[in-house]
C-alpha cells in the first residue's frame, strides 16, 4: 500500500503545490517585496459608511456570521470582518449586537468582540449581553434576529458568512426597518437574494479577501495572489480538459483521478 490513498494522489499534489505557493508568496511579502494592489471591493469599503450611518442616527449595528459552524471557512472569514466592525463600533461608541446560531461560534465571537473592544481601549464599553446565542435551530435563529432588528433600532445590518434560507428573511426585514445592508456569502444559492435585497453584496471569495483587504497586510495579500494563481491553473485545467475530452481523449481525467 502506497503512502497516499489511491485516487487522491493528484488532489494531494495539487493541494501541496497550492500550499507551497501560498507559503512562498507569504515569505516574499515578509521580505518587503512589493505586492500588487487589490481591486476595489465596494461591500468592504461600505463597512465604515454603514457603521458611520448607524452612529449618526444613534442606532445599532447588527452583525451575523451566518449559520455555519466553526469548521466552515466562511465563518472564519466572518471573524476577520467582525474584528474590524467591532473595533469601528468601539471607536465610535456605537452599539453592536452580534448574534449567533452556533454554540461554538458564539464562544469565539464573544472573545473576538471583547478583544476588539480591549484593543480599541474601550474594554469597559464591551457588553457581553450584546453578543448573543439565539438558537441552534435555523428558523429559531432567523425569528430571533428579526425580532432584534425590529426592537433594537438596527440601522446597519452586516451579514457575512454561510447563509441558507434565512438570508432573505434577514435581508428583507433589514430593508423593512430601513437598514443599510452589507451581505456576503460563498453559498451560491443565497447570493441572488443578497444582490436583490441588500445595498452591497460580496460574492463568493470576496469574503475570504476581507482580512487582506481591511488590514492591507502584505502577508495576507500574498495569500490572495496565490488564490488567483490557483484559479488561473484551474481555468487552464478546465480548458485543456474540455478540449481533450471533446477530441475524444480522457488522459487528464485519468491523471487527476490517480
Amino acid at each position: 500500500m502506497g503512502l497516499i490513498k489511491p485516487g487522491l494522489i493528484a488532489t494531494f499534489l495539487l493541494e501541496l503545490a497550492f500550499g507551497v505557493a501560498i507559503v512562498v508568496l507569504i515569505s516574499r511579502a515578509r521580505t518587503g517585496r512589493k505586492v500588487p494592489a487589490i481591486r476595489k471591493v465596494a461591500g468592504l469599503d461600505a463597512l465604515d459608511e454603514a457603521i458611520g450611518r448607524a452612529t449618526e442616527m444613534g442606532a445599532t449595528v447588527h452583525f451575523s456570521p451566518g449559520i455555519g459552524d466553526v469548521s466552515n471557512a466562511q465563518t472564519l472569514a466572518a471573524f476577520a470582518i467582525l474584528t474590524h466592525v467591532a473595533k469601528m463600533c468601539a471607536k465610535y461608541d456605537t452599539r453592536l449586537i452580534q448574534t449567533n446560531r452556533n454554540n461554538v461560534v458564539y464562544s469565539i465571537t464573544e472573545e473576538v468582540v471583547k478583544q476588539a473592544y480591549v484593543d480599541s481601549g474601550k474594554a469597559d464599553a464591551f457588553n457581553p449581553d450584546d453578543v448573543r446565542f439565539i438558537s441552534e435551530d435555523q428558523f429559531g435563529y432567523a425569528s430571533g434576529v428579526c425580532g432584534i432588528m425590529n426592537r433594537e433600532k438596527v440601522r446597519a445590518n452586516i451579514l457575512i458568512g454561510a447563509f441558507w434560507a434565512e438570508s432573505l428573511i434577514f435581508a428583507e426585514v433589514g430593508a423593512q426597518v430601513g437598514s443599510i445592508q452589507i451581505a456576503g456569502t460563498a453559498n451560491t444559492h443565497q447570493i441572488p437574494f443578497f444582490i436583490a435585497a441588500c445595498d452591497y453584496a460580496l460574492l463568493g471569495e470576496e469574503i475570504y479577501a476581507a482580512s487582506a483587504y481591511l488590514s492591507r497586510e502584505p502577508v495576507l495579500i500574498g495569500c490572495l495572489i496565490a488564490q488567483d494563481w490557483g484559479k488561473m491553473i484551474g481555468v487552464i485545467l478546465i480548458l485543456v480538459g474540455a478540449i481533450s475530452v471533446t477530441a475524444g481523449s480522457t488522459w487528464l481525467n485519468t491523471l487527476l483521478n490517480k
Binding site: 493541494e15 507559503v23 464562544s107 429559531g140 435581508a171 428583507e172 447570493i191 436583490a196 475570504y208 488590514s215
Partner: protein, 209 residues
C-alpha cells in the same frame, strides 16, 4: 503562551486531520477517528454553553422586568419545558411528540413560508430593466419561474420547460462552477492561513502578524 499554545494546537490537530484524509497508513486514520470522536463530544458539550447564555440574558430581562420580559418567560417555559419533558418521559412519549408536532413543526414551517412573501417583495423591488444585464436576469427568472410551475407548460407550451432545463443545466451550471471554484480555493487558502497561524481573528487577534 496564551497565543502560542492555541496556535500550536490548531496546527498539530489541523495537520493530523488534513494528512489523515490523504495518507494511507492506519496510524493517521486511527488518530483522526479519535479526533473526530472528541469533536463530536465537544460539540455536544457546547449546547450547554448556549443554554447558559440564553438563561443569563433572558434571566436578566425577567429580573429587571425590561421591555418584552414576558417573552423571555415564554422562552424559558419552552426551553426548559422541552428539556424536562424529553429527559423525564423520553422523546418517544406521546406528550413530547404532541408538544413537538404542535409547536416546533408549525412554527418552523411558518418561518420558512414567510420566504414566499419576502421573495415576492424582493423580486418586485429588484427585477427592474435598468440595464442589459438586469433585463437578461429578468427574462431568465421569468422563464425559470414559469417552467418550474405546471401552469407555464399549460399556457405557453413545452418550450418553457425545455428552456428552463437548459438555463439550469448550462449557463447556471457554468456560473455556479466558476463561483464554487473560486470560493473553494478561497476556503482552502483561509484554512491554510488558520493552520499556519497567519489568520488569528478567531483568537481575538487581527489577521497577519
Amino acid at each position: 503562551m496564551r497565543k502560542e499554545l492555541p496556535l500550536a494546537i490548531t496546527f498539530v490537530v489541523g495537520l493530523i486531520v488534513v494528512l489523515a484524509n490523504f495518507l494511507a497508513p492506519q496510524t493517521f486514520v486511527k488518530i483522526n477517528n479519535e479526533v473526530r470522536t472528541w469533536f463530536q463530544l465537544v460539540s455536544s458539550l457546547f449546547c450547554a454553553l448556549g443554554v447558559a447564555n440564553l438563561t443569563r440574558i433572558h434571566g436578566k430581562k425577567v429580573s429587571q422586568q425590561s421591555e418584552g420580559w414576558i417573552f423571555s418567560v415564554i422562552m424559558f417555559i419552552a426551553m426548559f419545558g422541552f428539556m424536562i419533558t424529553a429527559l423525564s418521559v423520553g422523546q418517544q412519549s406521546a406528550l413530547y411528540n404532541n408538544l413537538y408536532n404542535n409547536t416546533i413543526v408549525p412554527l418552523n414551517a411558518t418561518m420558512y413560508s414567510i420566504l414566499m412573501f419576502y421573495i415576492a417583495s424582493a423580486a418586485y423591488r429588484a427585477f427592474r430593466v435598468r440595464s442589459m444585464e438586469a433585463t437578461l436576469l429578468l427574462i431568465a427568472a421569468a422563464i425559470v419561474m414559469l417552467g418550474k410551475a405546471p401552469i407555464g407548460e399549460v399556457v405557453l407550451g413545452k418550450w418553457v420547460a425545455t428552456w428552463t432545463n437548459w438555463i439550469l443545466a448550462v449557463p447556471n451550471t457554468a456560473g455556479m462552477r466558476g463561483i464554487q471554484l473560486g470560493a473553494t480555493l478561497g476556503g482552502i487558502a483561509m484554512a491554510l492561513r488558520v493552520l499556519l497561524g497567519i489568520e488569528r481573528a478567531h483568537f481575538g487577534g487581527v489577521g497577519g502578524e
